[in-house]
């Protein structure tokens, strides 16, 4: 699989699972210019879908105003230690990948 850009921490506690996700990504807005004054093309993560046991627990749509190395945190009901989360991200360029993380 492609080199992972996602670092995720999921922790099950009292029947809820809290998830923290950090993706290593520049989130280029398309508004910046390089030293020669040419616009740097936009390249950012558009969608991030987190699935647990095949069920989507969070779907985030991101715009260019999300900071570099986007961070995302949320909590869902259920989840147990050792279970797996599937995180799928898609860039505006069409590149996408699925990475997994274990609930601890």
């Amino acid at each position: 699989m492609a080199k992972g850009i996602i670092r995720a921490k999921a922790k099950a506690k009292n029947g809820n699972t809290s998830v923290k996700i950090m993706a290593k990504h520049d989130m280029e807005t398309g508004n910046r210019k390089d030293k020669k004054g040419n616009k740097i093309p936009a390249k950012f993560i558009q969608t991030m879908v987190v699935a647990y046991n095949g069920k989507t627990v969070m779907e985030a749509h991101l715009g260019t105003a999300v900071s570099k190395n986007p961070y995302l945190a949320f909590t869902f009901e259920g989840g147990a230690k050792g279970d797996q989360l599937e995180i799928t991200w898609t860039e505006n360029t069409g590149t996408s990948s699925t990475e997994t993380a274990k609930v601890r």
Binding site: N16, T29, G54, V57, E59, L62, F74
Partner: protein, 151 residues
């Protein structure tokens, strides 16, 4: 023996399986709303997303700093005590594209989301919570001392 050919073959099959994995969980709740994300007006973005203009509500909690030292990374947390929350969106009025992010909350997930946003200049940050019974918002002025766009 590990020949170049067998290594390449393994890489390609691995890639194909990874590709399948990508296709599987793509039961997206909604398509990425290009109109809303690319517009330079907050009102136009809201129009493209919601049926009605959001009403200010005390049940929407927006947590953002009063002064952001670094506009490139502004931590924002939105939570809501409202029932049946469908989505949470964050807008930054002064940005070139005001819509920063939208989170779709399926049943079973808490109506809370945190993320970090970019802010080009001091402006109002608005959180909009969409529920089955309408849209509600909360907003807060965040001062930015260093711009996050350009740099």
């Amino acid at each position: 023996m590990i020949s170049r050919r067998s290594v390449l073959k393994a890489v390609f099959t691995g890639g194909a399986i990874a590709g399948l994995g990508v296709m599987m969980p793509r039961i997206a709740l909604a398509a990425w709303n290009a109109t809303a994300f690319e517009t330079d007006s907050q009102d136009a973005a809201m129009d493209a997303m919601y049926d009605s203009a959001p009403a200010a509500s005390a049940d929407v909690n927006l947590k953002a700093p009063d002064i952001a030292e670094n506009g490139a990374v502004v931590p924002v947390t939105v939570s809501s005590g409202l029932a049946g929350v469908k989505s949470i969106a964050v807008f930054v009025e002064g940005n070139p594209q005001p819509l920063a992010a939208q989170f779709f909350i399926p049943a079973g997930t808490k109506a809370q989301a945190s993320c970090r946003i970019r802010m080009g200049k001091t402006s109002a940050v608005t959180a909009v919570v969409e529920t089955a019974s309408g849209t509600f918002s909360a907003s807060k002025e965040v001062k930015v001392t260093i711009g996050g766009c350009g740099g």
